[in-house]
Amino acid sequence: MLNTGSISAEQGPPLWLLAELTYRCPLQCPYCSNPLEFANHKGELSTAQWIDVFTQARALGAAQLGFSGGEPLVREDLAELIGAARELGFYTNLITSGMGLTEAKIEAFREAGLDHIQISFQASDAEINNMLAGSRKAFEQKLAMARAVKAAGYPMVLNFVTHRHNIDQIDRIIELCVALEADFVELATCQYYGWAHLNRAGLLPTKAQLDHAEQVTNEWREKLAEQGNPCKLILVTPDYYEERPKGCMNGWGNIFLTITPDGTALPCHSARQLPVSFPSVTEHSLSHIWYDSFGFNRFRGYDWMSEPCRSCDEKEKDFGGCRCQAYLLTGDATQADPVCSKSPHHHKILQARAEAEQPQPGIEELTFRNERTSRIICKV
Protein backbone atom coordinates (compact mmCIF):
# COMPACT_ATOMS: atom_id res chain seq x y z
CA MET A 1 0.00 0.00 0.00
CA LEU A 2 0.87 3.64 0.17
CA ASN A 3 1.88 3.59 3.79
CA THR A 4 5.36 4.71 4.56
CA GLY A 5 5.31 6.45 7.94
CA SER A 6 5.28 4.89 11.40
CA ILE A 7 1.71 5.75 12.41
CA SER A 8 0.44 5.16 8.92
CA ALA A 9 1.05 1.41 9.26
CA GLU A 10 -2.35 1.33 11.00
CA GLN A 11 -3.86 4.39 9.37
CA GLY A 12 -6.75 3.69 7.01
CA PRO A 13 -7.51 5.71 3.91
CA PRO A 14 -9.46 8.96 3.71
CA LEU A 15 -13.08 8.08 2.92
CA TRP A 16 -14.55 11.57 2.77
CA LEU A 17 -13.20 14.41 0.69
CA LEU A 18 -14.55 17.91 1.28
CA ALA A 19 -13.63 20.22 -1.59
CA GLU A 20 -14.01 23.83 -0.49
CA LEU A 21 -13.93 25.21 -4.00
CA THR A 22 -13.99 28.87 -3.05
CA TYR A 23 -14.39 31.24 -0.11
CA ARG A 24 -16.50 33.55 -2.26
CA CYS A 25 -20.14 33.67 -1.16
CA PRO A 26 -23.08 36.01 -1.74
CA LEU A 27 -24.34 35.48 1.84
CA GLN A 28 -22.93 36.80 5.12
CA CYS A 29 -24.01 34.23 7.74
CA PRO A 30 -22.61 35.18 11.16
CA TYR A 31 -21.83 31.51 11.93
CA CYS A 32 -19.92 30.73 8.75
CA SER A 33 -17.44 27.88 9.14
CA ASN A 34 -14.86 29.58 6.93
CA PRO A 35 -11.83 30.99 8.74
CA LEU A 36 -12.12 34.56 10.06
CA GLU A 37 -9.24 35.57 7.83
CA PHE A 38 -10.74 34.07 4.64
CA ALA A 39 -10.21 37.38 2.82
CA ASN A 40 -6.45 36.77 3.09
CA HIS A 41 -6.74 33.52 1.13
CA LYS A 42 -7.71 34.61 -2.35
CA GLY A 43 -6.08 31.83 -4.34
CA GLU A 44 -8.20 29.09 -5.88
CA LEU A 45 -7.08 25.85 -7.48
CA SER A 46 -7.67 25.60 -11.22
CA THR A 47 -10.08 23.12 -12.78
CA ALA A 48 -7.20 20.82 -13.69
CA GLN A 49 -5.74 21.01 -10.17
CA TRP A 50 -9.07 20.08 -8.62
CA ILE A 51 -9.53 17.14 -10.96
CA ASP A 52 -6.03 15.98 -10.08
CA VAL A 53 -6.94 16.19 -6.37
CA PHE A 54 -10.10 14.12 -7.00
CA THR A 55 -8.14 11.53 -8.96
CA GLN A 56 -5.55 11.14 -6.19
CA ALA A 57 -8.17 11.04 -3.43
CA ARG A 58 -10.20 8.41 -5.26
CA ALA A 59 -7.09 6.27 -5.72
CA LEU A 60 -6.44 6.48 -1.97
CA GLY A 61 -9.99 5.24 -1.31
CA ALA A 62 -12.19 8.29 -0.84
CA ALA A 63 -15.77 7.56 -1.92
CA GLN A 64 -17.79 10.55 -0.72
CA LEU A 65 -17.06 13.97 -2.19
CA GLY A 66 -18.67 17.20 -0.98
CA PHE A 67 -18.52 20.33 -3.09
CA SER A 68 -18.59 23.16 -0.61
CA GLY A 69 -17.28 26.67 -0.07
CA GLY A 70 -18.03 29.56 0.31
CA GLU A 71 -20.70 29.06 -2.25
CA PRO A 72 -19.52 26.40 -4.72
CA LEU A 73 -21.98 27.66 -7.36
CA VAL A 74 -19.80 30.70 -8.00
CA ARG A 75 -17.23 28.38 -9.61
CA GLU A 76 -18.11 28.46 -13.28
CA ASP A 77 -16.46 25.07 -13.80
CA LEU A 78 -18.68 23.32 -11.24
CA ALA A 79 -20.49 21.09 -13.78
CA GLU A 80 -17.12 20.01 -15.19
CA LEU A 81 -15.80 19.21 -11.72
CA ILE A 82 -18.94 17.23 -10.89
CA GLY A 83 -18.63 15.29 -14.13
CA ALA A 84 -14.99 14.42 -13.51
CA ALA A 85 -15.65 13.34 -9.93
CA ARG A 86 -18.63 11.18 -10.87
CA GLU A 87 -16.62 9.57 -13.65
CA LEU A 88 -14.02 8.60 -11.04
CA GLY A 89 -16.73 6.86 -9.01
CA PHE A 90 -17.32 9.40 -6.27
CA TYR A 91 -20.72 9.86 -4.68
CA THR A 92 -21.05 13.57 -5.38
CA ASN A 93 -22.74 15.95 -2.93
CA LEU A 94 -23.38 19.62 -3.68
CA ILE A 95 -23.54 21.62 -0.45
CA THR A 96 -25.05 24.96 -1.35
CA SER A 97 -26.98 27.94 -0.04
CA GLY A 98 -29.10 27.72 -3.18
CA MET A 99 -28.11 31.29 -4.07
CA GLY A 100 -27.25 31.35 -7.75
CA LEU A 101 -28.91 27.99 -8.40
CA THR A 102 -31.26 27.79 -11.38
CA GLU A 103 -33.35 25.02 -12.93
CA ALA A 104 -30.94 25.00 -15.86
CA LYS A 105 -27.99 24.40 -13.52
CA ILE A 106 -29.89 21.70 -11.64
CA GLU A 107 -30.42 19.94 -14.96
CA ALA A 108 -26.82 20.45 -16.12
CA PHE A 109 -25.50 19.00 -12.85
CA ARG A 110 -27.87 16.05 -13.21
CA GLU A 111 -26.45 15.36 -16.66
CA ALA A 112 -22.93 15.65 -15.24
CA GLY A 113 -23.86 12.93 -12.73
CA LEU A 114 -24.44 14.84 -9.51
CA ASP A 115 -25.88 12.47 -6.89
CA HIS A 116 -27.32 14.79 -4.28
CA ILE A 117 -27.98 18.42 -3.39
CA GLN A 118 -28.01 19.86 0.10
CA ILE A 119 -29.56 23.31 0.55
CA SER A 120 -28.94 25.31 3.70
CA PHE A 121 -31.63 27.48 5.23
CA GLN A 122 -31.21 30.02 7.98
CA ALA A 123 -34.71 29.82 9.49
CA SER A 124 -38.26 28.84 8.62
CA ASP A 125 -39.62 32.27 7.78
CA ALA A 126 -38.46 34.89 5.36
CA GLU A 127 -37.69 37.69 7.75
CA ILE A 128 -35.25 35.95 10.06
CA ASN A 129 -33.74 33.96 7.22
CA ASN A 130 -33.00 37.06 5.21
CA MET A 131 -31.64 38.97 8.16
CA LEU A 132 -29.23 36.16 8.99
CA ALA A 133 -28.19 35.58 5.43
CA GLY A 134 -27.76 39.29 4.80
CA SER A 135 -29.88 39.04 1.66
CA ARG A 136 -33.44 40.20 1.04
CA LYS A 137 -34.50 37.65 -1.54
CA ALA A 138 -32.69 34.63 -0.10
CA PHE A 139 -35.64 32.78 1.37
CA GLU A 140 -37.86 32.74 -1.71
CA GLN A 141 -34.93 31.65 -3.86
CA LYS A 142 -34.13 28.78 -1.49
CA LEU A 143 -37.73 27.56 -1.43
CA ALA A 144 -37.98 27.65 -5.21
CA MET A 145 -34.72 25.75 -5.59
CA ALA A 146 -35.64 23.12 -3.00
CA ARG A 147 -38.78 22.40 -5.01
CA ALA A 148 -36.80 22.29 -8.25
CA VAL A 149 -34.23 19.90 -6.76
CA LYS A 150 -36.97 17.44 -5.80
CA ALA A 151 -38.76 17.89 -9.12
CA ALA A 152 -35.52 16.92 -10.90
CA GLY A 153 -35.47 13.64 -8.94
CA TYR A 154 -32.50 14.26 -6.66
CA PRO A 155 -32.42 13.12 -3.06
CA MET A 156 -32.36 16.26 -0.96
CA VAL A 157 -30.89 17.20 2.38
CA LEU A 158 -32.10 20.41 3.96
CA ASN A 159 -29.74 21.93 6.47
CA PHE A 160 -30.98 24.37 9.05
CA VAL A 161 -28.33 25.95 11.21
CA THR A 162 -30.07 26.57 14.50
CA HIS A 163 -29.21 29.00 17.30
CA ARG A 164 -30.96 31.01 20.00
CA HIS A 165 -32.76 33.21 17.45
CA ASN A 166 -34.47 30.45 15.49
CA ILE A 167 -34.39 27.23 17.52
CA ASP A 168 -37.80 27.99 19.06
CA GLN A 169 -39.26 27.77 15.55
CA ILE A 170 -38.10 24.18 15.16
CA ASP A 171 -41.65 22.87 14.77
CA ARG A 172 -42.21 25.15 11.76
CA ILE A 173 -38.76 24.35 10.41
CA ILE A 174 -39.49 20.61 10.42
CA GLU A 175 -42.97 21.19 9.02
CA LEU A 176 -41.46 23.15 6.12
CA CYS A 177 -38.84 20.45 5.44
CA VAL A 178 -41.47 17.70 5.40
CA ALA A 179 -43.63 19.77 3.04
CA LEU A 180 -40.62 20.21 0.75
CA GLU A 181 -40.16 16.40 0.79
CA ALA A 182 -36.63 16.51 2.15
CA ASP A 183 -35.06 13.05 2.45
CA PHE A 184 -32.84 14.15 5.32
CA VAL A 185 -33.11 17.19 7.54
CA GLU A 186 -30.08 18.36 9.45
CA LEU A 187 -31.07 20.52 12.37
CA ALA A 188 -27.57 21.54 13.21
CA THR A 189 -26.96 23.91 16.06
CA CYS A 190 -23.99 26.14 15.41
CA GLN A 191 -20.61 24.68 16.12
CA TYR A 192 -18.60 27.42 17.75
CA TYR A 193 -15.60 27.88 15.49
CA GLY A 194 -14.62 30.71 13.20
CA TRP A 195 -17.42 33.23 12.82
CA ALA A 196 -19.77 31.33 15.13
CA HIS A 197 -17.16 31.49 17.90
CA LEU A 198 -16.82 35.21 17.37
CA ASN A 199 -20.61 35.53 17.73
CA ARG A 200 -21.07 32.79 20.32
CA ALA A 201 -22.86 34.82 22.99
CA GLY A 202 -25.44 35.91 20.42
CA LEU A 203 -25.94 32.39 19.05
CA LEU A 204 -25.73 29.80 21.86
CA PRO A 205 -29.24 28.66 22.83
CA THR A 206 -30.24 28.12 26.44
CA LYS A 207 -30.59 24.64 27.91
CA ALA A 208 -34.37 25.08 27.99
CA GLN A 209 -34.42 26.02 24.30
CA LEU A 210 -32.38 22.94 23.50
CA ASP A 211 -34.58 20.61 25.56
CA HIS A 212 -37.63 22.00 23.79
CA ALA A 213 -36.02 21.43 20.38
CA GLU A 214 -35.19 17.82 21.28
CA GLN A 215 -38.72 17.18 22.47
CA VAL A 216 -40.30 18.64 19.32
CA THR A 217 -37.89 16.71 17.10
CA ASN A 218 -38.72 13.45 18.86
CA GLU A 219 -42.44 14.08 18.45
CA TRP A 220 -41.92 14.65 14.72
CA ARG A 221 -39.82 11.48 14.47
CA GLU A 222 -42.68 9.45 15.94
CA LYS A 223 -45.17 11.08 13.60
CA LEU A 224 -43.00 10.48 10.53
CA ALA A 225 -42.42 6.84 11.52
CA GLU A 226 -46.18 6.29 11.93
CA GLN A 227 -46.76 7.71 8.46
CA GLY A 228 -43.97 5.57 6.96
CA ASN A 229 -42.37 8.82 5.81
CA PRO A 230 -38.67 8.12 5.09
CA CYS A 231 -37.65 11.70 5.99
CA LYS A 232 -34.88 11.43 8.57
CA LEU A 233 -34.35 14.15 11.16
CA ILE A 234 -30.80 14.61 12.37
CA LEU A 235 -30.55 16.89 15.39
CA VAL A 236 -27.02 18.07 16.09
CA THR A 237 -26.89 19.58 19.57
CA PRO A 238 -24.15 21.98 20.67
CA ASP A 239 -21.49 20.15 22.64
CA TYR A 240 -21.47 23.07 25.10
CA TYR A 241 -24.23 21.22 26.96
CA GLU A 242 -22.36 17.91 27.14
CA GLU A 243 -20.15 16.59 29.92
CA ARG A 244 -17.99 14.52 27.58
CA PRO A 245 -16.51 15.78 24.31
CA LYS A 246 -17.47 14.57 20.86
CA GLY A 247 -15.17 12.14 19.06
CA CYS A 248 -14.40 14.96 16.67
CA MET A 249 -14.15 13.94 12.99
CA ASN A 250 -13.98 10.29 14.15
CA GLY A 251 -10.41 11.08 15.10
CA TRP A 252 -7.82 13.45 13.70
CA GLY A 253 -6.84 12.58 10.14
CA ASN A 254 -8.83 9.37 10.40
CA ILE A 255 -11.40 9.47 7.58
CA PHE A 256 -11.94 13.16 6.66
CA LEU A 257 -9.84 15.19 4.27
CA THR A 258 -10.64 18.82 3.52
CA ILE A 259 -9.02 20.75 0.70
CA THR A 260 -9.38 24.52 1.00
CA PRO A 261 -9.77 26.83 -2.04
CA ASP A 262 -6.04 27.47 -2.31
CA GLY A 263 -5.10 23.79 -1.98
CA THR A 264 -4.19 23.65 1.71
CA ALA A 265 -5.12 20.22 3.05
CA LEU A 266 -6.78 20.00 6.47
CA PRO A 267 -8.02 17.14 8.70
CA CYS A 268 -11.21 19.16 9.28
CA HIS A 269 -12.61 22.40 7.91
CA SER A 270 -11.78 24.35 11.08
CA ALA A 271 -8.18 23.26 11.48
CA ARG A 272 -6.72 26.17 9.55
CA GLN A 273 -6.92 28.29 12.72
CA LEU A 274 -4.57 25.95 14.63
CA PRO A 275 -0.90 26.85 15.02
CA VAL A 276 0.02 23.80 12.95
CA SER A 277 1.60 23.86 9.53
CA PHE A 278 -0.61 22.13 6.96
CA PRO A 279 0.58 20.88 3.58
CA SER A 280 -0.68 22.01 0.19
CA VAL A 281 -1.73 19.86 -2.74
CA THR A 282 0.24 22.26 -4.92
CA GLU A 283 3.47 20.98 -3.28
CA HIS A 284 2.81 17.41 -2.18
CA SER A 285 0.95 14.32 -3.29
CA LEU A 286 -2.24 13.50 -1.37
CA SER A 287 -0.69 10.21 -0.33
CA HIS A 288 2.19 12.04 1.33
CA ILE A 289 -0.19 14.57 2.85
CA TRP A 290 -2.53 11.93 4.29
CA TYR A 291 -0.02 9.36 5.52
CA ASP A 292 3.23 11.21 6.10
CA SER A 293 2.75 14.94 6.61
CA PHE A 294 3.42 16.53 9.97
CA GLY A 295 0.03 18.27 10.03
CA PHE A 296 -2.03 15.11 9.50
CA ASN A 297 0.03 13.12 12.01
CA ARG A 298 0.09 15.87 14.64
CA PHE A 299 -2.86 14.55 16.69
CA ARG A 300 -3.13 10.98 15.48
CA GLY A 301 -2.89 8.28 18.10
CA TYR A 302 -2.57 9.15 21.80
CA ASP A 303 1.06 10.17 22.35
CA TRP A 304 0.35 13.88 21.96
CA MET A 305 -2.13 13.89 24.83
CA SER A 306 -1.61 15.53 28.19
CA GLU A 307 -3.57 14.78 31.36
CA PRO A 308 -6.43 14.16 32.01
CA CYS A 309 -6.72 12.57 28.54
CA ARG A 310 -3.52 10.55 28.60
CA SER A 311 -4.65 8.22 31.41
CA CYS A 312 -8.38 8.48 30.63
CA ASP A 313 -10.20 5.22 29.89
CA GLU A 314 -12.48 7.04 27.42
CA LYS A 315 -9.72 8.41 25.19
CA GLU A 316 -10.28 5.76 22.53
CA LYS A 317 -13.92 6.82 22.30
CA ASP A 318 -13.58 10.61 22.10
CA PHE A 319 -9.89 11.15 21.25
CA GLY A 320 -9.81 13.95 23.83
CA GLY A 321 -12.50 15.81 21.88
CA CYS A 322 -11.92 18.58 19.40
CA ARG A 323 -8.43 20.03 18.88
CA CYS A 324 -9.80 23.27 17.46
CA GLN A 325 -12.10 23.78 20.44
CA ALA A 326 -9.27 23.01 22.87
CA TYR A 327 -7.12 25.62 21.14
CA LEU A 328 -9.86 28.24 20.88
CA LEU A 329 -10.79 27.98 24.55
CA THR A 330 -7.42 27.27 26.21
CA GLY A 331 -4.81 28.51 23.75
CA ASP A 332 -3.25 25.02 23.76
CA ALA A 333 -4.37 22.45 21.19
CA THR A 334 -2.98 19.53 23.24
CA GLN A 335 -5.36 20.18 26.13
CA ALA A 336 -8.50 18.15 26.72
CA ASP A 337 -11.52 19.64 25.00
CA PRO A 338 -12.99 21.88 27.76
CA VAL A 339 -16.41 20.32 27.10
CA CYS A 340 -15.12 17.41 29.19
CA SER A 341 -16.01 17.80 32.86
CA LYS A 342 -12.55 16.36 33.68
CA SER A 343 -10.86 19.28 31.91
CA PRO A 344 -9.31 21.93 34.19
CA HIS A 345 -10.84 24.44 31.74
CA HIS A 346 -14.39 23.12 31.93
CA HIS A 347 -15.45 26.29 33.76
CA LYS A 348 -15.20 28.12 30.43
CA ILE A 349 -18.00 25.96 29.10
CA LEU A 350 -20.02 26.48 32.30
CA GLN A 351 -19.48 30.21 31.89
CA ALA A 352 -20.78 30.12 28.31
CA ARG A 353 -23.87 28.22 29.51
CA ALA A 354 -24.44 30.86 32.20
CA GLU A 355 -24.03 33.61 29.59
CA ALA A 356 -26.67 31.93 27.45
CA GLU A 357 -29.19 32.37 30.29
CA GLN A 358 -28.67 36.14 30.16
CA PRO A 359 -30.16 38.50 27.56
CA GLN A 360 -27.87 38.65 24.53
CA PRO A 361 -27.47 40.90 21.52
CA GLY A 362 -30.07 40.64 18.78
CA ILE A 363 -29.36 39.28 15.33
CA GLU A 364 -28.65 42.72 13.91
CA GLU A 365 -25.77 43.13 16.37
CA LEU A 366 -23.92 39.98 15.31
CA THR A 367 -20.75 40.28 13.29
CA PHE A 368 -21.62 39.26 9.75
CA ARG A 369 -19.21 37.32 7.61
CA ASN A 370 -18.00 39.46 4.74
CA GLU A 371 -14.73 40.51 3.19
CA ARG A 372 -14.57 43.90 4.80
CA THR A 373 -15.02 42.51 8.31
CA SER A 374 -12.61 39.68 7.57
CA ARG A 375 -9.93 42.20 6.61
CA ILE A 376 -10.58 44.32 9.71
CA ILE A 377 -10.49 41.33 12.07
CA CYS A 378 -7.40 39.76 10.56
CA LYS A 379 -5.08 42.55 9.52
CA VAL A 380 -1.99 41.26 7.81
Binding site: P13, L15, A63, Q64, Y91, D115, H116, M156, D183, G228
Partner: protein, 92 residues
Protein backbone atom coordinates in the same frame (compact mmCIF):
# COMPACT_ATOMS: atom_id res chain seq x y z
CA UNK B 1 -44.40 -1.20 8.68
CA UNK B 2 -45.70 -4.32 6.93
CA UNK B 3 -43.47 -7.37 6.83
CA UNK B 4 -41.74 -8.07 3.53
CA UNK B 5 -43.17 -11.04 1.61
CA UNK B 6 -41.88 -13.12 -1.30
CA UNK B 7 -44.08 -11.40 -3.87
CA UNK B 8 -42.62 -7.99 -3.05
CA UNK B 9 -40.16 -6.39 -5.44
CA UNK B 10 -37.49 -4.30 -3.74
CA UNK B 11 -35.76 -1.40 -5.46
CA UNK B 12 -32.97 0.81 -4.14
CA UNK B 13 -34.19 4.18 -2.93
CA UNK B 14 -33.44 6.97 -5.43
CA UNK B 15 -30.05 8.49 -4.69
CA UNK B 16 -28.71 5.28 -3.13
CA UNK B 17 -25.90 3.52 -4.95
CA UNK B 18 -24.26 0.15 -4.45
CA UNK B 19 -20.60 0.15 -5.40
CA UNK B 20 -17.49 -2.00 -5.10
CA UNK B 21 -14.66 -0.22 -3.27
CA UNK B 22 -11.30 -1.89 -3.95
CA UNK B 23 -9.48 -0.06 -1.13
CA UNK B 24 -12.05 -1.25 1.43
CA UNK B 25 -12.23 -4.65 -0.29
CA UNK B 26 -16.00 -4.58 0.02
CA UNK B 27 -19.24 -3.33 -1.44
CA UNK B 28 -20.58 -0.14 0.05
CA UNK B 29 -23.98 1.52 -0.09
CA UNK B 30 -23.57 5.22 -0.81
CA UNK B 31 -26.24 7.82 -0.11
CA UNK B 32 -26.37 11.56 0.66
CA UNK B 33 -23.36 12.23 2.87
CA UNK B 34 -23.22 8.65 4.07
CA UNK B 35 -21.74 5.24 3.39
CA UNK B 36 -22.47 1.78 4.78
CA UNK B 37 -19.84 -0.90 4.40
CA UNK B 38 -21.66 -4.11 3.54
CA UNK B 39 -20.69 -7.62 4.57
CA UNK B 40 -20.59 -10.25 1.84
CA UNK B 41 -24.07 -11.65 2.35
CA UNK B 42 -25.70 -8.21 2.46
CA UNK B 43 -23.88 -7.31 -0.76
CA UNK B 44 -25.00 -10.57 -2.45
CA UNK B 45 -28.63 -9.68 -1.74
CA UNK B 46 -28.40 -6.01 -2.71
CA UNK B 47 -26.60 -6.87 -5.96
CA UNK B 48 -29.79 -8.68 -6.99
CA UNK B 49 -32.09 -5.80 -6.03
CA UNK B 50 -32.90 -4.24 -9.39
CA UNK B 51 -36.54 -3.21 -9.15
CA UNK B 52 -37.54 -6.18 -11.35
CA UNK B 53 -36.75 -9.31 -9.34
CA UNK B 54 -39.25 -10.19 -6.62
CA UNK B 55 -37.90 -11.43 -3.31
CA UNK B 56 -38.73 -15.04 -4.32
CA UNK B 57 -36.40 -14.74 -7.34
CA UNK B 58 -33.63 -13.28 -5.23
CA UNK B 59 -33.94 -16.23 -2.83
CA UNK B 60 -33.94 -18.74 -5.70
CA UNK B 61 -30.90 -17.16 -7.34
CA UNK B 62 -28.95 -17.15 -4.09
CA UNK B 63 -30.03 -20.72 -3.23
CA UNK B 64 -28.63 -21.86 -6.58
CA UNK B 65 -25.40 -19.99 -5.88
CA UNK B 66 -25.03 -21.15 -2.26
CA UNK B 67 -26.85 -24.52 -2.13
CA UNK B 68 -25.43 -25.60 1.22
CA UNK B 69 -26.48 -22.61 3.32
CA UNK B 70 -29.31 -23.58 5.69
CA UNK B 71 -32.08 -21.03 6.34
CA UNK B 72 -30.96 -18.81 3.48
CA UNK B 73 -34.50 -17.77 2.59
CA UNK B 74 -35.19 -16.54 6.13
CA UNK B 75 -31.91 -14.62 6.16
CA UNK B 76 -32.69 -12.90 2.86
CA UNK B 77 -36.18 -11.90 4.02
CA UNK B 78 -34.80 -10.65 7.33
CA UNK B 79 -32.12 -8.58 5.61
CA UNK B 80 -34.56 -7.03 3.14
CA UNK B 81 -36.82 -6.14 6.04
CA UNK B 82 -33.95 -4.42 7.82
CA UNK B 83 -32.91 -2.60 4.64
CA UNK B 84 -36.51 -1.52 4.15
CA UNK B 85 -36.79 -0.29 7.74
CA UNK B 86 -33.59 1.71 7.18
CA UNK B 87 -35.21 3.20 4.05
CA UNK B 88 -32.34 1.94 1.90
CA UNK B 89 -34.89 0.43 -0.44
CA UNK B 90 -38.52 0.72 -1.42
CA UNK B 91 -40.86 -2.24 -1.73
CA UNK B 92 -43.30 -2.60 -4.58
Amino acid sequence: MNPVVRDNTPVLRPGFRLQWEPVQNSHVLLYPEGMVKLNESAAEVLLLVDGKRPVADIIDTLTDKFPNVPGLDEDVLAFIEVAHAQHWLHIR
